[in-house]
């Protein structure tokens, strides 16, 4: 006797997408989340890339609480005081379907869970799922304090810090301390800044927005970190992502965020938003970065794993995407679940379809293709040599010194050499890392 056709644990974008898709296929679904209200435990940098949600909610870009749509993307290298930034304006990004939607998750995820409710999903907030319910090694539901709920299939979408996969032994590691090299920590401020000011500063109109991502060469320790900012409607999300395995006892993750914010280039962009009086929120979240190399068991008798819990994050040092992978994996989990239910076979034999669907989609295609990208994203030179060398090189080339000019490549090569990367290092890094991008 089961209570539902399927239980989805975790109402992030992946969990809610799975629940909505299942409901749309006529299934009885229970969606559980530990936050109250839903969304209050959810945090991300801020851009939902792509249009995967359209498959289940065709008008989501009109109806969802979206702060701004990315028109302008900046990617840059920060050295101690200088910045070299590639500024991208792609005109197609200015029209529907928008390529990048800047969101604040507390609001966005609450809206998405409400869409699940409207689709017929039973949604419960304020419920922490303690563990999976097992019968003869098969997952038959969930347990939360003294309550149990049963369903043929449980979809585990409990996020990067997935306690369910850990407790059930589905991860490669027995405990979290073995996975230091597989996670980054994201820390973020939301700074109040009037929308007029944002639009003037970044030359935007209406709901146009900016996404900026940077390699941080301005941190005076061995820390490997990146920085980001996204323009919300009337605030700016600004944060850093820190490789946990690069931290030394003297480092503090929260200081790295302040160092990013006080870089002269960044300081100009967040002007009038800095200071505690303008701080709307501060938060932090783990980011799985090892992708393909950290995937837990994705399916088994009575269960599927998706989103951050499955390590479905794409990161190449300049781009980090998780939400689109979570949504896509949620939709595919729903399809596999629906077929297994129709066959009355919620075992791994039927649920294996999930893995197949993932492999045929961009989710596992991307993660597989880029599985060695950490060779570059964890390369110390990326943080400690290249940002400084790039800035020095362009600065020398662009600064008028009243002296005979040198060819640009020579100036750049000299800067790299001065920062400790000669021709041989450049070639080696280029071959080892550049081809992994």
């Amino acid at each position: 006797m089961t209570d539902f056709d399927a239980i989805v644990v975790g109402a992030g974008v992946g969990g809610s997408s799975a629940a909505i898709k299942l409901a749309q296929m006529g299934k009885q679904v229970l969606l559980l989340d530990r936050g109250q209200p839903i969304g209050s435990k959810n945090l991300s940098g801020g851009v939902l890339w792509g249009n995967d949600l359209a498959e289940i909610l065709p008008n989501w870009q009109d109806e969802a609480p979206i702060e701004r749509f990315v028109l302008n993307k900046k990617v840059g290298f920060l050295s101690e005081k200088d910045a070299t930034v590639i500024d991208m304006h792609f005109n197609d990004w200015n029209s529907r379907p928008y390529n990048g939607s800047i969101v604040l998750r507390a609001k966005f995820d609450e809206w998405l869970a409400n869409q699940a409710k409207e689709a017929g999903v039973t949604v419960l907030d304020g419920i922490t799922v303690d563990q999976l319910l097992l019968e003869a090694d098969k997952v038959v539901g969930i347990q939360s304090s003294n309550d149990t709920v049963k369903a043929p299939v449980t979809i585990i979408m409990d996020g990067a810090n997935s306690r369910l996969t850990l407790k059930a032994g589905l991860r490669k590691e027995k405990n979290m301390s073995e996975s230091k090299s597989k996670f980054m920590l994201g820390l973020k401020d939301v700074l109040a800044l009037d929308h007029d000011k944002i639009e003037q500063r970044f030359a935007l109109t209406g709901r146009q927005g900016v996404a900026g991502e940077f390699v941080l060469g301005n941190i005076p320790s061995n820390v490997k970190a990146g920085g980001f900012f996204y323009t919300n409607y009337d605030s700016i999300s600004i944060g850093v992502v820190v490789h946990l395995d690069s931290l030394s006892p003297e480092d503090r993750t929260y200081r790295i965020l302040e160092m990013f914010k006080s870089h002269p280039y960044i300081e100009r962009l967040i002007q009038d938003g800095e200071g505690i009086a303008n701080l709307k929120e501060y938060g932090a979240k783990l980011i799985p970065e090892a992708g393909y190399n950290m995937m837990p068991k994705l399916y088994g008798d009575g269960f599927l794993v998706g989103g951050d819990a499955a390590g479905f994050v794409f990161s190449n040092g300049l781009v980090i995407q998780g939400m689109n992978y979570a949504i896509k994996s949620g939709i595919l989990a729903a399809e596999a679940t629906s077929q297994a239910l129709d066959k009355s076979d919620p075992t791994k034999t039927s649920l294996k379809l999930y893995q197949k669907l993932l492999e045929n989609s961009y989710v596992l295609k991307d993660l597989k293709k880029f599985k060695d990208v950490t060779k570059m994203t964890k390369n110390k030179n990326l943080f400690k040599v290249y940002p400084g060398a790039i800035n020095d090189g362009f600065k020398h080339a662009m600064t008028e010194k009243g002296e005979p000019k040198q060819r640009l490549y020579k100036t750049l090569l000299q800067s790299f050499k001065q920062r400790g990367a000669g021709m041989f290092t450049l070639l080696k890094d280029g071959l080892r890392g550049g081809t992994k991008l």
Binding site: G126, T128, S145, N161, S177, S237, L247, Y282, G283
Partner: protein
């Protein structure tokens, strides 16, 4: 071993930032993270302090004895300490349903 490495740090700036956050704090016996401070006394790195984004860990001298003080109340439930602690001092769980930090922006 540097025992009191964080004692001089002014934690005011980070603690001030937490003032903007909303928490529903559970009672101490239901704290979602429990730290066994006796293990921390001999820890060679205290990387929990380095990693924790909200400075829940403080290694103080109390009555002449180095003591790890952990404040579960300020936790934003990221899970970093459970990764950084390789000494087995951190027992980590999610707070009970509806308790803990409540983001309004996210």
């Amino acid at each position: 071993m540097k025992k009191f490495r964080d004692m001089e740090e002014d934690t005011g700036p980070i603690k001030n930032k937490l003032g903007v956050l909303t928490y529903k704090t559970d009672s101490e016996e239901n704290a979602h993270i429990v730290v066994d401070g006796t293990i921390c006394e001999t820890c060679p790195h205290h990387l929990c302090i380095s990693g924790c984004p909200v400075r829940c860990f403080n290694f103080f001298e109390i009555d002449g004895k180095p003591t790890m003080v952990f404040q579960y109340e300020d936790c934003v439930e990221c899970g970093t300490c459970d990764i950084m602690c390789d000494q087995g001092a951190v027992s980590w769980n999610f707070p009970r349903g509806s308790f803990g930090v409540a983001y309004e922006e996210g």
